[in-house]
C-alpha cells in the first residue's frame, strides 16, 4: 500500500512539474509538445524503522541481549509449542546468533548487550515495508535454568510514524532444561554454571509460563539462587516506536 501511494505521489509530482512548465510558456503553443518524455522510475522499497526500548523490571535477574525478529506469518516461538534450538540457546545461555538466523525472519537484530535490574536498553530495527508485519522478542533471565521473557507476536502492520506500542512481558519457561537451580546449570552471575546443553530434561518439552525461582532460602537446598533472584510477573517492559 505504501509503495503504491509513494508511486502515485511521484507520478503526481511529474504532472505538476510539467504543468508548471506549461504555465511559464507564453506563446500558447500546445504544452504537450514542450513536455520532456515522462520516465517512470520504479519506487525505492520503503523502509520502516522501529526503535525498541527494553526495561528490566526484576529485582535480581540480568536479562540477556534482547533479540528482535520481524516476520509476516510464522513467529520464531509460540506458547505451548516445543522450543527451537535457537530459542533453547537463548533460554539456557543468552546466546542469540542461531535464533536470529530464523528462516522466517524478514529482519532481525540484537540489542548490544544484556541489562541488569532497573536498566533500559534500546535497539533499532530496519525492515522493508510489508502489508503484514509482526515483531517477536526474546531474552533470557540469566539466573535461571531456561527462563526467558518476551512477546511471541506483536502486530505492527498499522503502526504509524511517531506512534508507540507499550507492553509488559511475563516470564516463560522454554521447557528445555529442568529447573534445578543448581550452581552447575545456571549460567548467570549468581551461579556461573553451564549455559546451553542440547539435552532436554524438563518435565515437558513445551513452552509454558515460568513457575518462578524457589531459591535456597525458600526450600530448595541444592539451589544456587537466593531470595534476590526471585521474580514475579511482569519481568520487562517493551516499547515499540515507529521512527520512520
Amino acid at each position: 500500500m505504501s509503495s503504491l501511494s509513494n508511486f502515485k505521489k511521484s507520478a503526481l509530482i511529474l504532472m505538476l512539474a510539467s504543468s508548471l512548465a506549461a504555465c511559464g510558456d507564453n506563446d500558447n503553443s500546445d504544452p504537450i509538445e514542450d513536455q520532456e518524455p515522462v520516465v517512470v522510475v520504479e519506487p525505492e522499497p520503503v523502509v520502516y524503522e522501529f526503535t525498541i526500548t527494553f526495561s528490566n523490571l526484576t529485582a535480581g535477574q540480568p536479562l540477556s541481549p534482547l533479540s528482535v525478529i520481524a516476520f509476516d506469518e510464522t513467529p520464531p516461538w509460540k506458547f505451548g509449542e516445543t522450543a527451537s534450538v535457537g530459542l533453547e540457546m537463548i533460554a539456557e545461555s543468552g546466546a542469540n546468533e542461531e535464533y536470529l538466523s530464523d528462516e522466517n525472519a524478514l529482519a532481525s537484530v540484537s540489542a548490544e548487550g544484556g541489562i541488569g535490574p532497573g536498566e533500559t536498553t534500546s535497539v533499532t530495527l530496519l525492515v522493508d515495508a510489508q502489508d503484514v508485519l509482526n515483531l517477536s522478542f526474546a531474552a533470557m533471565l540469566g539466573n535461571t535454568n531456561d527462563a526467558f521473557t518476551g512477546l511471541s507476536s506483536v502486530d505492527i502492520s498499522t503502526l504509524e510514524v511517531g506512534s508507540s506500542i507499550s507492553r509488559t512481558t511475563p516470564a516463560y519457561d522454554a521447557g528445555t532444561e529442568a529447573n534445578t537451580e543448581t550452581a552447575d546449570t545456571v549460567p548467570g552471575p549468581a551461579a556461573s554454571g553451564e549455559g546451553f546443553n542440547e539435552i532436554r530434561d524438563d518435565i515437558a518439552d513445551i513452552i509454558t509460563m515460568h513457575p518462578g525461582i524457589v531459591s535456597n532460602q525458600d526450600g530448595l537446598s541444592t539451589s544456587a539462587l537466593a531470595a534476590e533472584q526471585k521474580f514475579d510477573n511482569p519481568v520487562s517492559k517493551i516499547v515499540i516506536t515507529r521512527t520512520q
Binding site: G80, P170, I203, I206, I207, H210, V214, G219, T222
Partner: protein
C-alpha cells in the same frame, strides 16, 4: 410526526435489546508449567448470578469445585438462575499449555462471563473469572485469569486419596506426577476464610518426607494461570 418518532424509538429499543444476546466462542488455555485444571465451567449470567466473588465466603457449590473438581452443584445453581452454561469443554483434565474451546450462546440479560476450574495439585485452589462483561462489539478479546483460594480448606499440601470430598483435608490427586509422600503438612489452618488470591504452593525438595508432598520446582506457579480468548461473533 409524533407517531413516527415513537415508532423509530421503539425500533431502536428493540434493536438494542436484541444485541444483548450473543454468539460466543470461548477458549481457555492453561498457562502453568505444572498444574492441571479439573473440568472447566463457563457461564454467562446477569449481574447477580456469578459463580464466586472475592472477599466473600465460598458457597458450598464453589467449595465442592475447589476442593474436588466437582462442578455439578455449580451447574445446578447456574441452571436454576437461567445462566447459559458451557460445561467441561476439555472433557476431563486440561493439561499444562493445553487449550479447550466451548461455544456459548447467551440469552438476553446474561451479559457477564464467569469461569471456574480447580487447580491440581492444590487443596482448594482454583482458576477463576468473576463477571467479565461481554463486549457488544464483535471481535476477539483476551482475558488473563488468576489463581484463587476458596478459603475453605487449609493448604496442608498433602496428597490424600478421597480428599476431594468437601471438608476432607488434603489434595485429591497430582495428575502430572512429580509429587511426594509422607509429608507432615504445611499448615492446619486457613487464615483467610473468604475467597482470595491464592498465595501459591510452597512445596519442598524432599519427596519422601518434609512438610509438603508437592515438589517445589514443579508445583509452584505465578499469575496469571490461564488465558481466556473470547470471540464475540
Amino acid at each position: 410526526m409524533k407517531a413516527s418518532a415513537f415508532t423509530v424509538a421503539t425500533l431502536l429499543v428493540v434493536a438494542s435489546q436484541s444485541t444483548l444476546a450473543a454468539e460466543l466462542e470461548v477458549e481457555i488455555t492453561n498457562l502453568t508449567k505444572g498444574l492441571y485444571f479439573t473440568p472447566v465451567l463457563i457461564t454467562a449470567h446477569d449481574s447477580e448470578d456469578k459463580l464466586f466473588e472475592v472477599a466473600t465466603e465460598a458457597s458450598s457449590a464453589l467449595q465442592a469445585m475447589a476442593e474436588g473438581g466437582d462442578i455439578s452443584a455449580l451447574v445446578t445453581q447456574a441452571s436454576a438462575s437461567s445462566s447459559d452454561i458451557a460445561e467441561n469443554p476439555a472433557a476431563g483434565l486440561l493439561a499444562p499449555a493445553a487449550s479447550a474451546t466451548a461455544g456459548l450462546t447467551t440469552t438476553d440479560g446474561n451479559e457477564y462471563l464467569s469461569v471456574t476450574a480447580m487447580l491440581l495439585p492444590t487443596n482448594d485452589g482454583f482458576v477463576g473469572l468473576d463477571s467479565w462483561k461481554v463486549p457488544t462489539e464483535a471481535g476477539t478479546y483476551t482475558v488473563y485469569l488468576n489463581g484463587y483460594d476458596a478459603g475453605t480448606e487449609a493448604n496442608n499440601e498433602l496428597v490424600v486419596d478421597g480428599s476431594g470430598a468437601p471438608g476432607v483435608l488434603g489434595i485429591p490427586a497430582a495428575p502430572g506426577g512429580q509429587a511426594g509422600t509422607n509429608g507432615t503438612g504445611i499448615t492446619t489452618g486457613d487464615t483467610n476464610t473468604m475467597v482470595h488470591i491464592h498465595p501459591g504452593a510452597l512445596g519442598d525438595d524432599d519427596l519422601e518426607s518434609g512438610n509438603s508432598d508437592l515438589n517445589n520446582t514443579v508445583h509452584r506457579w505465578l499469575n496469571p494461570v490461564a488465558k481466556l480468548t473470547v470471540t464475540v461473533k
